[in-house]
Symmetry: C2
Subunit: 306 residues, 2 copies
């Protein structure tokens, strides 16, 4: 085995990426309970909500209340902001981190936010100004970084264009999103390798989907490249509502189990996390794709102790 | 990326490992149709059935008829044989390969076949004699090679004990079975590395389950170790009926997609295989765990051609 990172940070995105597309609007109190249970299980970085249009995404209309309920309870709270107005709402709600999102491919970006990439890039500085003014950290997601369901392969230059714009407004981390599960180990190696050569000082996080059963295979490739920041979703909740056939974020507890088995530290507790996943599954009333919530860890506690 | 094998052989086990545990007894003609469709999709090695007790496993009571229907149609036909009587039936049916199976852990072995490992080892030479007499190739499976649901970790020596017995009766290939999905990349590296050191001339195949979402991650580890023989099941059908919480062989078309994306040759056609998986899903009337049958390949044909 190659040398892997000794410690990895997992960002839990289920409350945002998962709940935003559920037909059921989950009550604010339930969301806060989920967030607190995640923190109790050792999660220290939560993408808790999104300050998008409350009419377009009623599931997340309670963004400020969710942040208020989780603030100061032990985790960094991230929230997506689609524009300067969202950034102002996020700042007022006292999020710890604002996250901007843009696709590397024009057609996916347009379907997602109904603007061109150029138009979104032009609005970036205004968002950054809001974040700076409020003293809130700012990060960015590059969606469709490993492929676009409409355009196919995405050139590295198209990904680098967004990363460059993110770096210019002072972001201290960029997440590469595998929006519809098109990443493969060779593509991960090429994209991460290419971006690192151009942006050697910028930390990257990886956000894979399991649409083609390669979510954890791609995490493994990321680990072998030394990437130590991953995003995943409790129970495997969520996906991308605007992409055809898209299902399944990498499942947090399945990812945690793999990291545990690789001897990589996360500070998270698998059994507690499995309990949270089962609670979320019950709450939503449908089976989630996570495996560990059914199988449990490979060794029973008594076996693991020997 | 490390150097991976340029070509990999996939053994399709769904007709045996999958159908043996289905509540529905699939009609012989339907089985033969599935087998022929698999061959049409480029599958060249099929574990087609098992010559076990027809009263204990009525799903496979038509073993000889299935072999007759697929014989000489372009694929090597394997069949499991639990004992010398099964071997004689398999020889009479003119299988191309007989496969013996034993668990590396005593408790799993006893639950599976109601005999001790020592008793089964004692019967090995009789089976080998039948195979030799009929001029049929003989291989073996070591179940619970990466962990046992009852005993936990399985010592390398326990696996090696079975492999040694297999080698002594002249087997030309041994498959290591991850019966309940307990394999992890470090364990795969340790078991494969340890066995190769002891049996440098013996080819090993790997048979993983996706119970803990690590099936393809473990294949990736196997590839990096240079292993070029894998077993998987169309649609992800099957598992182990005698193990608690066991679900899901690695899915053949999901595995094929990964190998395609890694540039590894198999001679198999993904689109055709996906059609077979969908047909099997319709036949069984319940969703199978395969991902590619829902997502399709990452690029549409027009995108892939450019």
């Amino acid at each position: 085995m190659r040398a892997l990172p000794r410690r990895v940070r997992i960002t839990e995105v289920g409350m945002r990426d998962g709940l935003q597309m559920e037909p059921l609007v989950v009550a604010t109190e339930r969301k806060i309970e989920i967030g607190l249970a995640l923190i109790e299980a050792g999660v220290r970085d939560i993408e808790a909500t999104s300050f998008v249009s409350t009419t377009a995404v009623p599931q997340l209309a309670d963004a400020a209340a969710v942040i208020a309920g989780l603030k100061g309870r032990g985790a960094t709270l991230r929230a997506l902001v689609p524009n300067a107005n969202g950034a102002r709402r996020a700042a007022a709600a006292q999020v710890d981190r604002m996250i901007v999102f843009m696709s590397a491919s024009e057609s996916h970006h347009r379907k997602n936010v109904r603007r061109s990439i150029a138009e979104s890039l032009a609005g970036l500085e205004e968002i950054a100004t809001v974040a700076r003014g409020a003293g809130v950290a700012l990060g960015g997601i590059v969606s469709t970084a490993f492929g676009c369901p409409y355009e196919g392969n995405v050139p590295l230059a198209a990904v680098a264009r967004i990363v460059e714009a993110y770096a210019q407004v002072g972001m201290d981390e960029v997440s590469l999103g595998d929006t519809t599960g098109m990443a493969t180990p060779p593509i991960v190696a090429a994209v991460v390798g290419g971006l690192r050569a151009q942006f050697p000082a910028l930390p990257f996080a990886l956000h894979f989907h399991n649409t083609r059963a390669l979510g954890l295979v791609n995490v493994m490739q990321g680990l072998e490249l030394g990437i130590d920041r991953y995003e995943s979703s409790i129970g495997g909740l969520g996906g991308c509502p605007f992409a055809p056939g898209a299902t399944g974020n990498v499942c947090t507890e399945d990812l945690l189990n793999m990291l545990n088995e690789l001897g990589i530290e996360t500070g998270m507790d698998l059994d507690r996390l499995i309990r949270v996943a089962r609670d979320v599954e019950r709450l939503l009333g449908r089976p989630l794709p996570g495996q560990l919530m059914r199988s449990g860890a490979r060794l029973a506690p008594a076996q693991a102790a020997t």
